[in-house]
């Protein structure tokens, strides 16, 4: 199998809800390169979550194709499962388990060796600043901490493709900087990250940005390319030019 340039490739991807009444994703052509950090940006309701859920195989498309690392999704999604790490928009960890038990549960689902998952967990608890919370029940943690636990669960098996849906919502700005530093490190090691956000300054740090509106990609490029094309100083201004009305509506 030849190594494709793109780890994720969707063609004319469509997802309609309520028998076509809601066109959540409406002909999306997405190409994400290996090892890049791709920021998938759009207003609430633009279709980011729907698109990401189809890529992770959780949601079946109405039409269109998805190829992830040469695998046809959703048909071959269980073969893809070990190589993706997903942090859903709604923090989905078990609140009546401790931080450690949550992480170890996912480690066991990926059938990692005990020693391996233990050292990996220690590393992640450090990166995500959760060392002191290891034995705390998740229910007793703040929203931002829960999100960090969720991210740890997505990273435990060292996947090569990360799908983070609004991963940094509710995480304080200082920690967010720290996260992005870690994301960059992962990317340098060859991990691909797709991070959705409706917060624009997140995008500035990404390798490439895709702007989605009403289920279609309306603009794409590196932060520098986009700023140059629209002759502005910040990515924020790019968005304001393209979809300002929608963001104001929030």
């Amino acid at each position: 199998m030849s190594i494709q340039e793109y780890i994720v490739e969707t063609k004319n991807l469509v997802k309609h809800y309520n028998k076509g009444e809601v066109k959540a994703v409406n002909g999306l052509d997405l190409k994400v390169k290996r090892g890049e950090i791709y920021a998938f940006i759009g207003a609430n309701g633009a279709g980011k979550t729907t698109a990401l859920d189809m890529i992770s195989g959780v949601l079946y498309p109405t039409s269109g194709t998805i190829i992830v690392d040469g695998l046809e999704i959703p048909r071959e999604r269980k073969r893809m499962a070990h190589m993706i790490g997903v942090a859903p928009q709604d923090v989905s960890v078990y609140s009546d388990l401790t931080v450690k038990e949550n992480i170890m549960f996912f480690a066991d689902l990926y059938r990692l060796e005990k020693a391996q998952s233990n050292s990996r967990m220690k590393e992640l608890l450090g990166v995500l600043k959760l060392e002191e919370k290891e034995n705390e029940l998740v229910r007793n943690l703040s929203g931002g901490m829960k999100r960090r636990v969720s991210i740890a669960c997505a990273l435990i098996h060292d996947p090569k493709l990360l799908l983070f849906d609004e991963a940094t919502v509710g995480v304080d700005p200082v920690l967010r900087q720290w996260f992005w530093k870690y994301f960059k490190e992962l990317s340098k090691k060859g991990t691909t990250l797709i991070i959705t956000s409706h917060v624009m300054d997140e995008a500035e740090k990404a390798d490439r940005i895709g702007l989605i509106r009403a289920g279609v990609l309306i603009e794409e490029g590196t932060p520098a390319e986009l700023k140059e094309k629209y002759r502005v100083q910040t990515i924020e201004e790019v968005f304001l030019k393209l979809a300002g009305d929608e963001f104001i509506n929030e």
């Binding site: 195989g57 959780v58 997903v86 989905s92 078990y94 388990l97 038990e101 689902l109 990926y110 059938r111």
Partner: protein, 378 residues
Amino acid sequence: MSDIDFTNFSSSRMLTVSKRVLRQITRDRRTFGMIIFMPLLIMLVFGIALSGEIKNIAIVVENQDTDTSEAAGIVIKNALDSDTRVSLKEGTYSSAINEIEDGKLSAAILIPADFTTNLQQKAAGGPDVTLEIRIYIDGTDPLIRANIMAALQDALSDALGDQGVQFDETLAHDGAEQSGLDVAIPAVMGFVLTFLVLLLSSLTMVRERIGGTQYRLYTTPLNKMELLSGYVLALTFFGFIEVVSILTISVFLFGATVAGNFTLLMLAAFMYAIVHVLLAVFLSNFAENELQAMQMVPIIALPSMALSGMLVPVDSLPVVAQNISNFVPLTYGIRLFEGIMLKGFDLGNLWLDFLKLGVFLLVFFVLSVLTVKDHNES
């Protein structure tokens, strides 16, 4: 896409799910308390309410009609003596009254000295003779009262055939203790198992689904069968705990006798629990929240109770209801529990009921497998 993958089945992933569910259930104090105390509570309530057969009700019979050895009073007293519903105690009518008020006796019966004489006069067509027996009885428990009266009626018709005997019946205040729970225990066991296993299983399943965590599981290598078996295994484990606690309560607290094989009884109860775990797993698909899941339990359990022979023997039900009772698992549960505990049946007598329970198990298993999800549907 709905293909069920048996080939890549990983029992380690299945056990990972089971372990987590078990841990979560034991950590939830309310639920865990329910598992431990509900059997006791329900067994107590239902056990007492349903104590079916009445035995050995303590009464005193004072017979003054002893002129000849064939005197009617003697025949009546002997007939009562051999009736298992009542147990004759020493004492006189007047001394017994205090004991009835103290709750130590349920009734006192006085057969007057002229009973035989009056009887003979009446048989000879004598005018206006009343045949009278005095009874002082505890009327607070209708069931006990009815049983005493029935025993007396039987004794009278044994002794005299159908002759108009008048009872001078006086009611006492205090209730008497009941006995004879054993007969009710198999049915109550079946009901408690139905109720608790359905409740715990459907609550757990709905919590899994509404927490948003199941969605994330879909992105992991965990497949449908592993997920389903993981749940079923964990819930069955709790079903097993319920079985053990219910049997322990029945045998050690209520002194239930197990005439048949204890292992066979465990097996029957265990199988019965699995049937309801699977039923709950299937039904939880139709519940959107914990409240709906909880509401489903009485919807299943109460009709089961009515149709399974728990309240009224199946044979006494209307024909339509009898036919429906064939499709109620509790019917077979009760038959198995009663058969083993009361009648001392073994597999030779019970294989058909085991088989039918097995059919339910298979059907609910297939329904669960067909409805288990591994992706979001909409």
